[in-house]
């Protein structure tokens, strides 16, 4: 029997029990209980009657550090970090957006040198961007840029370079981050392996 059929059977049994109680028992409290379980049973049966659909999580992509061969591999890891662990997309969008709280990043990899992006990520207050997209004086953006290499986001060096690689690729710029350099960064442990999909080890 399928899981739905089992649950339907249970629901029917519950409703049946409730009906039996209402038919044959006199004690008020028990009758009220019978009434309650009939309602709950019917609710469950109705919920079992609508289309059943579980929402499966997308596959966790594991990443083997040895598999990074090309800058594109690096950029695809960077893309994942951009939209998950790095939390960049909480504020930034790629392309103009109404809900973005901070500057949009379309073409940023072509506009800025990787060193400058690195500095913006690790020392965000070194150069503060203001919002000019309106009349009057420029304003600060509603959200302040956190230090990406510190808690709570705490991306490793390798992760930050992956993100920069992604930003460059997205802007149609040749990726200037070198794979060997990134792989040679001494992190003590294989942090990169655990970053994508959050510890899908």
């Amino acid at each position: 029997m399928s899981e739905v059929a089992v649950l339907q059977l249970m629901g029917l049994c519950v409703v049946g029990t409730g009906i039996l109680i209402l038919l044959f028992l006199k004690a008020v409290f028990v009758r009220v209980l019978g009434f309650v379980i009939i309602m709950l049973g019917i609710f469950t049966l109705i919920a079992l009657g609508v289309p059943q659909m579980a929402s499966l999580p997308p596959a966790v992509e594991t990443f083997d550090i040895a598999s990074v061969k090309t800058p594109d591999d690096l950029a695809s890891i960077g893309q994942k970090i951009f939209f998950s662990k790095g939390q960049c997309a909480l504020c930034h969008s790629i392309g103009p957006s109404e809900s973005a709280r901070c500057p949009e990043l379309a073409g940023i990899g072509a506009k800025l040198a990787p060193e400058f992006i690195y500095e913006s990520l690790t020392q965000p207050q070194a150069y503060v961007y203001l919002d000019f997209r309106h009349d009057g004086l420029p304003e600060e953006y509603p959200a302040r840029m956190p230090h990406i290499n510190k808690n709570p986001i705490a991306l490793s060096e390798q992760e930050i370079y992956s993100v920069i690689a992604f930003l460059q690729k997205m802007s149609g710029e040749p990726i200037s981050i070198k794979v060997e350099d990134v792989l040679n960064i001494d992190v003590g442990e294989m942090k990169v392996a655990s970053l994508v999909g959050h510890g899908g080890n």
Binding site: V28, L40, A89
Partner: protein, 633 residues
């Protein structure tokens, strides 16, 4: 004291991270043992165990049950003081002892309910620490200062509750004002206690970037996430509804069990008060829900679509069904009140009731018509897809908003009708006032419908920002202006038919129980919606759920859990009521009810709205005849 605490905290937090404990932390650990264990987890375990499982039931399901029980109990514990406090004020204002007695009776429940809530909170905390250490470490890293604030509020709440309850009889007369102030404080602290955990939950759903800064700054930044306030308001109102309807259900059960005439009258009246407060809270609730959904959409389109159009879309059809049953139940109870409590008027109200019932049913039919229909292959071919060319227009938000507003309006009219049943206005301006009110109601109804239809032809943003808001404002305007106006009219009204308590049929008792069950089910359902809208994220877009329970179960499976949770909660509440009223039997003769056959005094003014009728100032009526007990058993 508090300032001192927070000052210390800033220097203290990093030390905990380094696992070195200062004297202060020992003191605080005493204060806050569970959270302290939690915080230490952050330091040592963060990188080790991510998940633990419970064999058999599974860690997610266990958390589901315990968290739901804790939340429902918390809703009860927060809703009942609001309910009791309102009753106490009414009793104080009107000098009517039965309100005070009712308030006290429900406050008595609090002491045991409070302990049970804390118990489930403790179990939940231990389970979360044990089963989801990675997530807990992350959250406690961000929110630790709020744990301290939470604990302090909890201490204050506990102290206030004891003062409020044990000081009840002492603080009567002149000291009553102070007691009412205590009740205010109790609700204020309770609000804080609700809001802080709300921020943890809403942060999971709509996280904001936490910049570095002091621990307090970070916690504060995280608390102020986009859905925090909508959830606060929504839950606050929902708690009032829960408190009211649970009171109603309790009265319903006691009414069914009642043997003597006084008991029947008392519990009939109590059921009315509970239902009244429940409905009172329920009317603005959809507006709060709408605001919350709007914030969710604005925060993240993906999450909004998951909820409203994606895999949870059918959940909202179920929600519409439950809300429909709840609205119908509340109206049914009002209508039965007219029929049974005001003898002789039933015939003249039959037509308006039928009209209102039809409006309610048509509204419900529109609300429950899904956007994507379930259709067989052949049916789908005939329709040209799963959208019906004609009824498809009912599937979108504009239609749902319109009918929700109409249902609220109808329920409000039911309430007005009940209030005025058996009365004859004597004021000279009554005729004009009634004509104006009638015209306004018609205009309001039409305006809501016109705005709803017009909403199809304007851009979504215009509809959301202006049309929907206008609909809400129209309905709110009607409610806010009509209530005092009717109160004024009723003050000088002549009673043609006395209201009789204790005559309601057995069905009424079951209706009250059904209303309470619907509210609890709705809370469970929407809890599931809130939680599963995050899909496979612990913290949306930040921390992914990598456990084997990252999937969201299908609706039928989830509904089985909701039903189980509802049943367990009902049993817990029944147990709490049973424990709290155990001692009453012994003292029943002297303490409960009015002395037999003595006239009951009902004053005029605001209170009658709650008392379910408004005879003139100082008017009395004599106890009614007992009803036929076995009517439909």
């Amino acid at each position: 004291m508090k300032n001192h605490d927070t000052l210390k905290l800033q220097s203290w937090l990093p030390k905990v991270k380094a696992s070195s404990l200062s004297g202060w932390s020992v003191f605080l650990a005493f204060l806050l043992l569970p959270a302290f264990v939690w915080a230490q987890d952050a330091a040592t375990l963060a990188m080790q165990v991510e998940y633990r499982d419970v064999p058999g039931i599974g860690s997610r399901n266990l958390i589901w049950i315990v968290a739901q029980q804790h939340l429902l109990l918390a809703g009860f514990v927060l809703g009942v003081p609001i309910f009791a406090w309102i009753c106490e004020i009414v009793g104080w204002k009107t000098n009517e002892p039965r309100y005070d007695k009712l308030a006290k009776e429900f406050t008595k429940l609090l002491t045991s309910a409070y302990a049970t809530t804390a118990l489930f909170g403790g179990i939940l905390l231990f389970l979360l620490i044990g089963l989801y250490p990675k997530l807990m470490a992350y959250l406690s890293d961000i929110f630790f200062p709020s744990f301290i604030a939470y604990s302090i509020l909890f201490l204050l709440e506990t102290a206030t509750l004891y003062l409020y309850w044990y000081g009840w009889d002492v603080m009567q007369g002149k000291k009553k004002v102070f007691h009412l102030f205590l009740g205010f404080l109790l609700n204020l602290f309770a609000l804080g206690i609700m809001m802080i955990p709300n921020s943890w939950a809403t942060f999971q759903a709509s996280p904001v970037v936490v910049t570095d800064g002091t621990a307090i700054e970070r916690a504060w930044a995280a608390m102020q996430n986009p859905t925090w306030w909508p959830v606060n308001i929504h839950r606050f109102i929902a708690n009032i509804v829960l408190g009211g309807f649970i009171c109603g259900a309790y009265a319903g059960v006691r009414y069914l069990q009642a043997v003597t005439k006084e008991e029947r009258e008392r519990y009939d009246w109590m059921g009315y008060v509970g239902n009244f407060i429940g409905v009172f809270g329920m009317l603005p609730l959809p507006f709060a829900g709408y605001w919350l959904m709007r914030e969710v959409y604005q925060y993240n389109q993906q999450m909004g679509i998951t909820l409203m159009g994606g895999f949870l879309a059918w959940l909202f059809i179920l929600q519409a069904m439950l809300i429909g049953v709840l609205f119908l139940g509340a109206n049914y109870y009002f209508w039965m009140g007219i029929t049974y409590r005001v003898p002789g008027v039933a015939e003249s109200y039959k037509k308006p009731i039928l009209a209102m019932l039809i409006v309610l049913m048509v509204s419900l039919a529109v609300w429950m018509t899904p956007h994507s229909l379930v259709a067989s292959l052949q049916e789908a071919r005939q329709m040209g897809g799963t959208h019906h060319p004609l009824l498809g227009v009912f599937g979108v938000m504009s239609a749902k908003m319109t009918v929700a507003n109409l249902m609220i309006l109808v329920t409000f009219i039911s309430f007005l009708m009940y209030w005025r049943a058996g009365k004859q206005e004597t004021a000279a301006w009554a005729k004009i006032a009634k004509a104006v009110m009638g015209a306004l109601l018609v205009i309001a109804g039409l305006a809501v419908i016109v705005l709803g239809v017009w909403g199809y032809f304007v851009p979504a943003i215009i509809r959301i920002n202006y049309f929907s808001v206008a609909q809400v404002l129209i309905v709110l305007f009607i409610m806010v202006t009509f209530t005092p106006l009717t109160a004024l009219l009723m003050k000088s009204a002549k009673t043609t038919t006395e209201m009789i308590w204790g005559q309601m049929p057995v069905r009424a008792g079951y209706t009250l129980v059904s209303n309470a069950v619907m509210v609890i089910l709705l809370m469970s359902l929407m809890g599931y919606a809130r939680s599963s809208s995050r899909v496979h994220w612990h913290i949306y877009g930040v921390m992914r759920d990598t456990s084997e329970y990252a999937y969201s179960p299908a609706l039928g499976y989830a509904a089985a859990f909701m039903s189980l949770n509802t049943f367990v909660f009902c049993m817990i509440v029944a147990f709490i009521f049973w424990v709290a009223t155990m001692g009453d039997k012994a003292t029943q003769g002297t303490e409960h009810g009015q002395p037999e056959d003595s006239p009951v005094k009902i004053p005029g003014g605001v209170a009658p709205a709650i008392a379910g009728g408004s005879p003139r100032e100082g008017q009395t009526f004599v106890n009614p005849v007992p009803m036929n007990k076995n009517e439909d058993t």
